[in-house]
Symmetry: C2
Subunit: 306 residues, 2 copies
């Protein structure tokens, strides 16, 4: 599989449907070096997930039953939005713990939304039952080639926009986004995976030399709280000797506050997690090393205009 | 006075101190045409005002007493920030009606902040007394050449970033920002002034063929509520036959909600006022006419992370 070709094809497919998100170079956040940002939280439905969702729906036939997804929030919203835009039905199972802001977000896409008591596993179980019963198509949140290729378009776009950095910091949940970066960049730039200390499926897998289950909690858990890293991500991470750091919730909150106070960028905790690694020193660039941070999600709760 | 030269000089002066704000092209907001946006609410202290403040302080000697300003909020924050960055003292008089979000914003700059009971006129009176007593320098919020030239750098920057639009929509309070646009563009693009129906000093002045006092109220009054349009702005507006429209508060709130819901751009009402003119049809572009909207301020109240 030639991943760069896959991502180029994905970019052609999703181009007319996704937002080309802005980039900027800025100085601040208590750092003594500039940082390039890509404001991917301005993507449709507030996270990069729309890229993978559109690519999935556009690269294979969609059955009459449409799609089904189980999601703690951002993926569900993106899948529902993409389905609606492309004229497909969408049934989305959301665990109650996703919270009212993300549940409203999905409701506004016009999807057939099912709020399931409890956590993600319950939602996934019902989604699988619905798939078996109706033949609806599952859209995986992170561990499918079409999803990864879709997320990879974010990095192809960033390079076309003049990305200068030597090193990219990317927050990791299930690993779909960073897998897209690794697949596209193929070692051309250093990539640093950033996870919350209390939701670090990739870091744990790299230590164990295989994907393992982890407990997840903390401020970013409803976006980054995958229990096990995706196999595609793990394979790339192992092969490319990916740098992996973790950050405490206090650093995530500090980064979230700094983005708002200094740049009027209002994001959910997951969207501030990569920057947190610079702010708390979990990743310290070498002198002259140019760094970039992907701002991946903006679906803050409570919704400030909700 | 060659305004374009003034603005080029201002751009050199303020370049190292201001944020180059991102631009994007987007489709949405219920419109059937794309819109270019410049995200100037990401400027230091959350509005374009930092440009004029830096240019003022860098283009003339600053007395030992530093600067003094009276401001409903955004200008005071920008002047205080610029003074702090350049190592000058700053005394800022803020009317109580500015509200806690903008008052905290100014406090965080480290300025000597005086909250004055009542409305703007009281704050201005005290600022003038302080100036007379100490020799501190007044930084005018909108009606001084250095202020206008500073705001003009926003449009020079936007053109350098590839602005394509035929027509720019700009919100107007005292007129410093739009005067900067008129001074830089000199008729090269059509400019549309957008004011709230209940704070329309420019629209009233154009009807009366001279600046006149107006009553101000409504959701954007604490940023756009100048009682009388600046003389510099009025002169440009009259000479260039500026298009002027007004929008109801309901359209401003609708635009503010759309910017957040669709693009995760969270702004104060003033920051959504120019877009409101497209959403409510106060300005209808001709077929094929390309439009751009300046997003001018992000200091929403209450502060979502306050």
């Amino acid at each position: 599989m030639n991943w760069q070709d896959e991502i180029r094809n994905a970019a052609e497919r999703v181009g007319p449907h996704v937002q080309r998100t802005p980039v900027m170079k800025t100085q601040g956040f208590g750092l003594d070096f500039p940082v390039e940002l890509k404001l991917e939280h301005m993507q449709h439905t507030g996270s990069f997930k729309a890229r993978g969702a559109f690519n999935t729906l556009l690269s294979q036939p969609v059955p009459p039953a449409g799609l089904v997804a189980a999601s703690g929030g951002n993926h569900g919203a993106a899948a529902a939005y993409a389905a609606h835009q492309l004229g497909h039905k969408a049934r989305i199972y959301v665990p109650e713990m996703a919270g009212p802001a993300k549940i409203s977000l999905i409701e506004r896409t016009g999807a057939d939304l099912q709020v399931v008591p409890g956590a993600y596993a319950n939602a996934l179980e019902q989604a699988q039952a619905y798939e078996a019963e109706t033949g609806a198509m599952q859209v995986h949140a992170y561990d499918a080639p079409a999803t990864v290729a879709g997320q990879g378009t974010c990095f192809a776009e960033w390079q076309a926009q003049g990305l200068e950095a030597d090193t990219l910091l990317i927050a990791v949940g299930g690993g779909g986004l960073i897998a897209g970066a690794l697949a596209w960049l193929q070692g051309a730039k250093k990539i640093v995976a950033v996870e919350p200390e209390t939701a670090c499926a990739l870091n744990a897998a790299l230590q164990a030399r295989q994907p393992v289950d982890v407990e997840v909690s903390g401020v970013a858990a409803n976006a980054l709280g995958a229990k096990r890293i995706g196999a595609i991500c793990f394979e790339f991470a192992s092969a490319q000797d990916l740098a992996s750091v973790t950050v405490p919730d206090s650093a995530i909150t500090k980064a979230q506050t700094a983005l708002w106070r200094e740049r009027r960028i209002l994001v959910e905790p997951a969207g501030a997690t990569a920057l947190a690694a610079l702010i708390c020193g979990a990743y310290c660039p070498a002198p002259g090393e140019r760094v970039a941070v992907l701002i991946c999600g903006g679906n803050i709760a409570p919704d400030p205009l909700g």
